[in-house]
Structure formats: structure tokens, C-alpha cells
Amino acid sequence: MDQSNNIIEVSNLSFSRNDRVIYDNISLTVPRGKVTAIMGPSGIGKTTLLRLFGGQLRPDSGNIIFDGQDIPTLSRKALYQARRKMGVLFQSGALFTEMSVFDNIAFPLREHTKLSPSIIRKVVLMKLEAVGLRGAANLSPTELSGGMARRVALARSIALDPELIMYDEPFAGQDPISMGVIVRLIRDLNDALNLTSVVVSHDVEEVLSIADYVYIIANKTIIAQGSPAHLRQEQSAQVRQFMAGEPDGPVPFHYPAADYQEELFNHVK
């Protein structure tokens, strides 16, 4: 196993979908044991990047080295082996609605291990305790609030003790309490379980409060990177607009259109 300092090394990655370029020659690294955040405006393909890391999409060119293996070149079998070392928290939680909370978390253990039912029960309860939902083990996913569902999904994604966990917009649509809980869980789990975390989000303050290193992506490329403290000092207009949430700037408020007056008064049908 490759024990280099970086669990993921992306180099010269390009990816396009239906002739639309999403990433143009980007390179980044995810160091082991750290929380790395990938930020950027909506619609620039942050989730796509996680799917590329997980091998669900193949890049047009470039390498994605995960734990010493180049993900796009792996056979299906090797890819599935590599995925056992990854956990993903999807934006919707993606819990299996026909199973109880307990069975959702037990599912990957039953599929991939030969543990006895009593050990599986203990592991599931420990994972649920870690996210504060041991009492909800027998509920159905439809009985959970959005924040609880995401915590259950988090417990499921750490069930097999992965080396890497990827969070897809973990704070989206959460009330302040749930958001605070998830922010704390990401950091605590990362440190307690010696994980590596990748957080994809556009919630600036929450991300900066827990990330060790941040990449900001816009216009198909990485426009800034560094520690949260470094990014707060960044002077580039594009970064400043994103960090401060200004409605107008390098990313214009108006969608490109013809001249306003021209269209209002001189428009001939």
C-alpha cells in the first residue's frame, strides 16, 4: 500500500460533459489525516469531482491517484476493492428507504464482512452512538428529519472504517442546530478515527471553521488554494466576491443579455 502523505493526488485532470468543459487541466492533492475542502459556486461541478474520485465518472485526461492506484485505469474489480476504502456522504443522504436505520448501517457490514450478527449489532450501535442517534436505531428513514438522515448516512459511510470520507454538500438545507452538529461531527470523526476527509461545499463560514486546506474552484479551474487563514487574506476579486457573498463582481449578477435599453425600447417584432 502506498503510504505517501497524500491519499489523493490529482494531476492535469480534464473532464467535459456533452461538449461542455467542466474541468480544464486541474491538479490538487488531499493529504492524509486532514480535512480538505473544495469550494466554489453552485453548478461548477463540485459533486462531479467526487464522482471522479470515486471512479463513477472517467476523466477525458489526467490521473487520479488514490492510495497509490490510478482510479480511471482500474478494472471493475480493483475499483470496487478501492471503493471499500472510501465512504461517501451524499447530499440527499441516500438511505435505503425499505430498511430501518439499523439495517442501513448494518448493510455494508453484512455485504462485505463475515462478522457474526452480534458483532455487527455492536458495531452498528457504536457508529450510531458516534453520531448521537443510537436511540433511533429502529426508526425508518422516512421518520427522520433531514439532519438526522444525514447523520445516519454518515454513520453508514463510516461503518467499514474507510480511510477516506467524502462529503457532498453536507450543510445544504440544514437548520442551524443540525449544521452545528454536522460541522462538529466532520472534524471530530476525522480526528478520532484518523480519517481523511474531503468536504465539497459552498457554505463558506462552516467550511473555513473545520478545514485544514481549501481549494476554490471556478471557471473550470482552481482559482485559489491555501489554509482558511490564508484565504481570508486573499485579495483576488473573484475570491473576495465568493468569500463575502457579494452579488456582483467578476461573476456578474446579470446573465449575459442584449443591451437593456435597446431591448426595452427599440425591439421590433
Partner: protein
């Protein structure tokens, strides 16, 4: 203008071929030995219940009424020629050769096929399929395979039940209500229905319909655009395409089997 229509035709052709290719890969992926063996058994049993047992009520009620109507219509026609004794033969042959396999397949497409498409489409929209992939579990083995086999096993059984209940419905109307002799009803039916010509051919038809309907339903769900509109379109497509495929294939198979 011409180049536009030729281009449109080409695009439709390409998208049809690509769709057929994806459907083929889906079936291949679901059927290829996965080394999971016994792990699939509980999933299959659950799907047999959902796809098969839960379709029983509609099959029983429809079979009963279709048998009753057949008997009623047949009696009014046969009685003019004094041939009402052959009512059992007419009801049984119509059901075993055509109505049993075809109507139960059409009902199955509407009841179970549409549900399969909507369920898998929704699993896709809520990222459950992606989540399985990222857990290193192939959704084709976990989700598609048990549903496919459940459909293939259920429909021939449902068609058999449909025909049996239809014959009982025919007996109810013909014998109990209209007064056809019960001995003649059963005896003429027994002497005219052939094992290989009627029962086996009807079974082959419903097996073919089962494969086609379940395959279409699973493919449409798996290939659905993961939005509410996309799932609604996919569900409609399942019912329409399955129904047309059933009727078209029925003609072809009838021509091959009985002409």
C-alpha cells in the same frame, strides 16, 4: 430543411441504438454470475412477494370476469347452432392460447412493470444506486437481478392462475347460470385441450412476455432521467412499450405456433 430532417432521423436512430445497447448491458450485467448465490435468495423472495403476490388480486378478479364474459358471449353465439355443449372448449382454448398470457401480461405491465420503473427511477433520483456503487456493491446484482427473476418467475404463474380462474368464471356463468350440462362442459374441454399445442404454447408465450415486460420496466427505470418529470415519462414508456411489445410478439408467436 431536408438536411435537418435527415439529421433528426439520424439522431433518433443513434439514440435508439444506444438505448438498446444500454438495455442489453443492463440485462447482461444482471444475469452474469456474480458469485453471490444465496445472498440473492432473500432479495428474490421479497421481490416475488412484491411483484407476484401483490399482483394476485388484479389477476384473480380480471380472470374471473373475463371468463364470465367469454362464457356469456360464447353461449349466445353457440346456442344458435345448438352447440352450447362446446362452451367449455371455447372458454378454455381462448384463455389458454390467447387471453390468459396476453391479458395477464398487459395487467402485469400496468401493475408491476410501472411500479418497478418508478421504484428504480426514484432510487436513482435519491442517489441510492450511486450510494450502492460507492459501497462497492453492484446495483445490477443487488437491485436489478432479483427484480428480473421475480418478474420472470411470477408472470407465467399469474397467467396460469388467470386462465384457471377464467375457466371457473366461465363454468359459473355457463353451467350454473345458463344451464349448460356440467358433464359436457368439462368433458369436451378435456378432450379438445392439447397439452403441447395449447398449454405449453401458452406457457411459452407468457414466459416470453415476462422477460420482455420485466426487462423493459427495469431498463426504463435504470435509464430514467432522475427528475420527477423523467420518472413520470419512464413509467409511461414502460406501460406503452410493454403493451405494444406484448401485442406484437403475441401475433408473431401465434403465427409461428398455430399456423
Amino acid at each position: 430543411m431536408l438536411s435537418k430532417s435527415v439529421g433528426g432521423l439520424g439522431r433518433h436512430g443513434l439514440s435508439f441504438v444506444a438505448g438498446a445497447g444500454r438495455a442489453g448491458l443492463l440485462l447482461f450485467g444482471a444475469l452474469k454470475p456474480a458469485g453471490r448465490g444465496l445472498k440473492l435468495l432473500p432479495l428474490l423472495v421479497k421481490q416475488l412477494y412484491v411483484v407476484g403476490v401483490q399482483s394476485l388480486v388484479i389477476i384473480l378478479v380480471s380472470g374471473l370476469f373475463i371468463g364470465m364474459v367469454l362464457s356469456l358471449q360464447g353461449y349466445t353465439l353457440l346456442v344458435d347452432y345448438g352447440a352450447e355443449q362446446s362452451l367449455g372448449q371455447m372458454v378454455a382454448l381462448s384463455l389458454l392460447r390467447e387471453l390468459g398470457p396476453v391479458v395477464s401480461a398487459l395487467l402485469f405491465a400496468g401493475r408491476a412493470g410501472s411500479a418497478l420503473t418508478a421504484e428504480i427511477g426514484l432510487m436513482k433520483a435519491t442517489e441510492q444506486l450511486s450510494s450502492l456503487e460507492m459501497m462497492a456493491i453492484d446495483p445490477l446484482h443487488q437491485i436489478v437481478a432479483p427484480r428480473f427473476w421475480a418478474g420472470v418467475i411470477s408472470l407465467p404463474l399469474l397467467a396460469t392462475i388467470f386462465s384457471a380462474v377464467g375457466i371457473l368464471g366461465g363454468h359459473l356463468v355457463g353451467v350454473e347460470w345458463l344451464g349448460v350440462d356440467t358433464g359436457a362442459f368439462w368433458a369436451i374441454m378435456q378432450s379438445s385441450v392439447q397439452w403441447s399445442e395449447d398449454i405449453v404454447n401458452g406457457g411459452i408465450k407468457s414466459l416470453v412476455f415476462a422477460v420482455v415486460v420485466t426487462w423493459i420496466a427495469l431498463h426504463k427505470g435504470y435509464d430514467a432521467e432522475p427528475t420527477s418529470e423523467g420518472i413520470s415519462r419512464a413509467t409511461t414508456a414502460t406501460v406503452v412499450q410493454s403493451s405494444l411489445a406484448i401485442l406484437g410478439l403475441d401475433f408473431v408467436m401465434t403465427a409461428l405456433m398455430f399456423s
